[in-house]
C-alpha cells in the first residue's frame, strides 16, 4: 500500500524536523518560531541547484544543509546578544520574510507557481524513484540524523547546551561562551531542518511557498512539546503521532475543506489533552525513560477510568 509508505516517508521527514527543533528549543532553551523557514531554505536551495544548475542530488542536499545552517547563524547573531525573547520574535519574523522571498522573488523561485519537476534523488547511478525506494532512503537518512543528534546531545557539548537552558548566568560563570554554543545549536538545528527540506523537495518533486508557513512551524513545535522538551525519543514519538493522527479522516467521506479544518481541530485537541494530563510532554527529560513511558500509559488509563488507583508518581 503506497499510501502507508508515503506516510512513513513524511514521518521520517518530520522526525528529523522535530528532533532538530528540539536541539534548539528543548535542549538549549531558545524559542525558535521559524523552523519552517529553515525547512524551506533547505528545500528551495536543494531544488533549485538540482533542477536549474543540474547539480547532483548529494551536492544539492549538502548546499541545502549549509544554506539553512548559515541562515540559523545569521538570524542568531543579532539577537543572541540581547536578552529575553528576542529570538522568538526574530525567528517568527524571519519565517515570514523567507516566505515573502519565496513568493516574490519570482525570477528565481517562480513565486506562488512553485518549482515543479525537482529530480528524484540519484546516488551512484541508482535512482530513488518509487515510494518504496524513497522510503528506504528517507529512513536511512532519518536514522543517521537521529544518531548524530543523539551523539551531539549526549556529549560534553550537549551538557553545556543543557546548562544554558537551565541557567545562562551560572553557565557564564563557569566560563562557557554561551553565544558560541547558542549559535552552534541554531546552526545544527537549522542544518538538519534544511536536510529535511531537501528530502521533502526531492520526494514530492514540487515545492511552493504554502508548505513553509507558520502553521508548519506550529506543527513542529507541537511535535516537540507533545513528545517532551529535551527528549529525543519524545520528538520521534511526537512526530509519528502528529503525522499519523489526522490521517484516518481521509477515509471518512467529507468535503476537502472540512478535512483540512478537522486536522487543525485534531492537533488542538491532542495538545489540549496533553496539557491537561501531562504538561511536560510524553517524555520530559529523564534518564529513566522506560518507567516514564509506562507511567504515562498508566496515568492515562487512570484518567480515563480504565484503572482505579492512581499510579505512583515518578520522582
Amino acid at each position: 500500500m503506497a499510501y502507508l509508505e508515503h506516510l512513513l516517508v513524511l514521518a521520517s521527514i518530520y522526525i528529523i524536523l522535530s528532533a532538530s527543533l528540539n536541539i534548539i528549543i528543548g535542549f538549549t532553551g531558545m524559542l525558535n518560531l521559524g523552523h519552517a523557514a529553515f525547512f524551506g531554505i533547505g528545500a528551495y536551495i536543494s531544488a533549485l541547484l538540482a533542477k536549474v544548475i543540474g547539480l547532483s542530488w548529494i551536492a544539492s542536499v549538502i548546499f541545502g544543509i549549509i544554506g539553512a545552517a548559515l541562515a540559523g547563524v545569521l538570524i542568531g547573531i543579532p539577537c543572541l546578544r540581547l536578552r529575553g525573547d528576542y529570538l522568538a520574535i526574530a525567528t517568527l519574523g524571519f519565517g515570514e520574510i523567507i516566505r515573502a522571498v519565496m513568493k516574490n522573488w519570482t525570477s528565481v523561485t517562480r513565486g506562488p507557481l512553485g518549482i515543479p519537476g525537482i529530480p528524484k534523488p540519484e546516488l551512484l547511478g541508482y535512482r530513488f524513484a518509487s515510494v518504496n525506494e524513497f522510503l528506504l532512503l528517507s529512513v536511512v537518512i532519518m536514522i543517521i540524523s537521529v544518531w548524530l543528534i543523539h551523539r551531539i546531545i549526549h556529549s560534553p557539548f550537549g551538557r553545556v547546551l543543557r546548562s544554558i537552558r537551565e541557567d545562562e548566568i551560572a553557565s557564564l560563570s563557569l566560563g562557557k561562551d554561551i553565544i558560541k554554543y547558542k549559535l552552534l545549536a541554531l546552526a545544527i538545528g537549522a542544518g538538519f531542518a534544511g536536510l529535511a527540506g531537501s528530502l521533502y523537495a526531492h520526494y514530492i518533486t514540487f515545492i511552493d511557498p504554502t508548505t513553509f508557513t507558520f502553521t508548519e512551524t506550529v506543527l513542529m513545535v507541537s511535535m516537540v512539546v507533545l513528545g517532551g522538551m529535551g527528549s529525543l525519543t519524545g520528538s520521534i514519538i511526537g512526530a509519528i503521532i502528529l503525522t499519523l493522527l489526522p490521517e484516518p479522516i481521509r477515509f471518512v467521506q467529507l468535503p476537502t475543506n472540512v478535512v483540512a479544518a478537522s486536522r487543525q481541530i485534531i492537533y488542538s485537541v491532542a495538545l489540549i489533552l496533553l496539557m491537561l494530563f501531562r504538561p511536560t510532554g510524553i517524555l520530559g527529560e529523564n534518564p529513566n525513560r522506560k518507567n516514564k513511558i509506562l507511567y504515562f500509559f498508566k496515568h492515562l488509563a487512570w484518567k480515563i477510568g480504565l484503572r482505579t488507583n492512581k499510579p505512583e508518581q515518578l520522582i
Binding site: 546548562s163 551560572a170 560563570s173 554561551i178
Partner: protein, 258 residues
Amino acid sequence: MKPLLEIEHLNKSFGGIKAVNSCSFIVPHGKIVGLIGPNGAGKTTVFNLVTGFLSSDSGKIKLDGVSLVGMSPDRIARMGISRTFQMIRLFPHMTVIDNMMLAIKNEREGLFDAVFRIPPLSTEEKHNEERCMEMLEYVGLETKKHEKAKNLSYGQQKLLEIARALIADPEILLLDEPAAGVNLTMLKKIGDLLKKLRSQGKTILIIEHNMEFIMNLCDTVVVLDYGQEIAVGAPHQVRKNKKVLDAYLGNIDVKIVT
C-alpha cells in the same frame, strides 16, 4: 609581590544610587579576604563588577596585573575567577554530577569532539568524574551523585555550588554569603574547607554577615558602607574601628561590639 586582585576607584551607579562609590582594595595571593558591610552596602555589586556581570562606570579591576574591565563574564571565568551567587544558581534539572562536570576544566566540550570523539571521550570523562566525586565526597554529597540539583536541601545546594566553584580550580574564589542559612556543622565544614584551601595556596574573597565566621577565618577584612571601603585591616583591628562601629550600630547587628 603584586596582589592577585586589585580594585581601584571602582564606581557603579544604578540610576541615582551609587552602589559602589570609588571603592579600592586588594586581595593578596594565598589569603582569605572578607568583604563585609551592612545590607545594601554594595558587596554583591562589587562581585558582579569583578566577574563582568555588570560593567563599571569607571575604575580599575586587575587580576594578576591584567585588566578585567570590558571582558565578558565567561572570559573572566576562564581567566581563573570562580564565584558563587547570593541567590544559589545551580542547573536545577541536571544531576549533581553533571553540575560538577560542567565546572571542571574540559578541553573537549566542542562540537567537533561531540561528533568525532577522536580520541574517545570516555577516558577523560571518567577521569573528570572521579575528580568530581572526590570533591563531592569532601563536601559529603557523594550519595547524591545522580540526584537532580533541585532536589537537594538548601544547605546541600549551597555546598554543591561551592564545590562546583572549587572544582574549576580557580586562581581566586569569590563566595557570596556561603554561610547564610547553613547549619552549624555545615558552617564549620565550610570554614575548614576554606582554611584547607588557603593552606594549599588558594586565594579567597568572601562576603559574609556571620561575624564570628569572618573573624575566625579571614586574614584581612574590608568593610564596605555606601559603596566605599571605610576600613581595611586584620579582623581584630577592624572590629574596633570607630567608623565600622558607627556603620553597624545604625544597623541591628550589635554582635560586633562585644
